[in-house]
Symmetry: C2
């Protein structure tokens, strides 16, 4: 745009590459940042540089951490024989928020996809098989998306792992869900998996 | 959240303070940034530091620039006797995108508001009166929001400035607007300001 300083335009272009921000909201965000230079923009620059230089993938599970092993893999209390397999770090974070799982994770980094030529090696599935042997794992919980790709990946992993119990998340009516707004697939799955009260 | 590194949590908290991002989308944005450390996160940190140290308000018009005078105030071709008064820098940017105005700007930084005790001094209105005298201004175009506060401010400025033509943006049907979806106020204003075809 005419007469906007080039470095502000550059910052807007970079911000617009964030998920959830388009060119318009990036512009608005940058203007907000410029107004709060001291209290938000410079601290944010420092925090980004800090994270950019320290963050790395856990060599064991694929989670994001600041050391070669992430906080969960380093914690001996989390070695309870359970490994929860998730597609991405965002899913690991979602599981952690529930505080319902106290074992370790394995982040695949995606799902098997013939179209995008994503095979088992890209998804760290050999590493998972290795961990199942090395870490005295008794149960692998597949917490993958209820999508075609997610379920394909789940079945592939279940076939691949031997000598360990493989389970998957239950499907059914979400908490707070009203039947009227649910799709037929979910209601059907919930009906088939019905349980005694 | 348990076991997320503190610096990543800190970055999420800062990002969540951006307009248009909540805690959830900040989390998603940070995860995206961590995945693209080299190509997005570190360049963004550098761009923010750069803007944070160079950006400042133009002493004349209040626009954002990298020098004491912004690019528009420094450009002698923009001294055409017209000053366009806007509420904020975002409005200045919006005007510039139209490329329909080739004069200079005056950024108020808000609107008069008795409730929030925003008076003429807070809005740089004395500076505007000064510029009208010093810069051989022939027309002041008020491009303020069509809100109660915006129009109050417009009338105050019109009363305050003497010896100069004061105009305001036309009100009417927006380009691409369908009557069915417009409010009565806009249709009424467009009807009263109707013109011969």
């Amino acid at each position: 745009m005419a007469d906007t300083p080039a470095d502000i335009e550059g910052l807007i272009a970079l911000m617009a590459r964030l998920p959830g921000l388009g060119p318009r909201s990036a512009r608005r965000a940058v203007l907000h940042l410029v107004k709060k230079r001291g209290t938000l923009l410079l601290p944010l620059a420092d925090a980004m540089r800090e994270v950019g230089t320290t963050a790395r993938e856990c060599v064991s599970c694929g989670n994001i951490g600041t050391h070669d092993l992430c906080g969960i893999c380093e914690d001996p209390r989390r070695q309870n024989g359970q490994i929860c397999v998730v597609e991405g770090v965002e899913d690991l974070w979602a599981m952690e928020r529930t505080a319902a799982f106290r074992g370790r994770y394995h982040v695949l980094g995606g799902t098997l996809s013939a179209l995008d030529s994503v095979g088992p090696e890209e998804l760290r599935i050999p590493k998972l098989a290795e961990r199942v042997k090395d870490e005295e794992v008794t149960e692998v919980i597949l917490a993958l998306g209820a999508t075609v790709d997610g379920q394909t990946t789940a079945h592939y992993i279940a076939d691949r792992l031997t000598g360990v119990q493989v389970t998957t998340l239950a499907q059914g009516v979400p908490v707070g869900g009203e039947l009227d707004y649910l799709d037929e697939g979910t209601i059907g799955a919930a009906l088939r998996a019905r349980r005694a009260l």
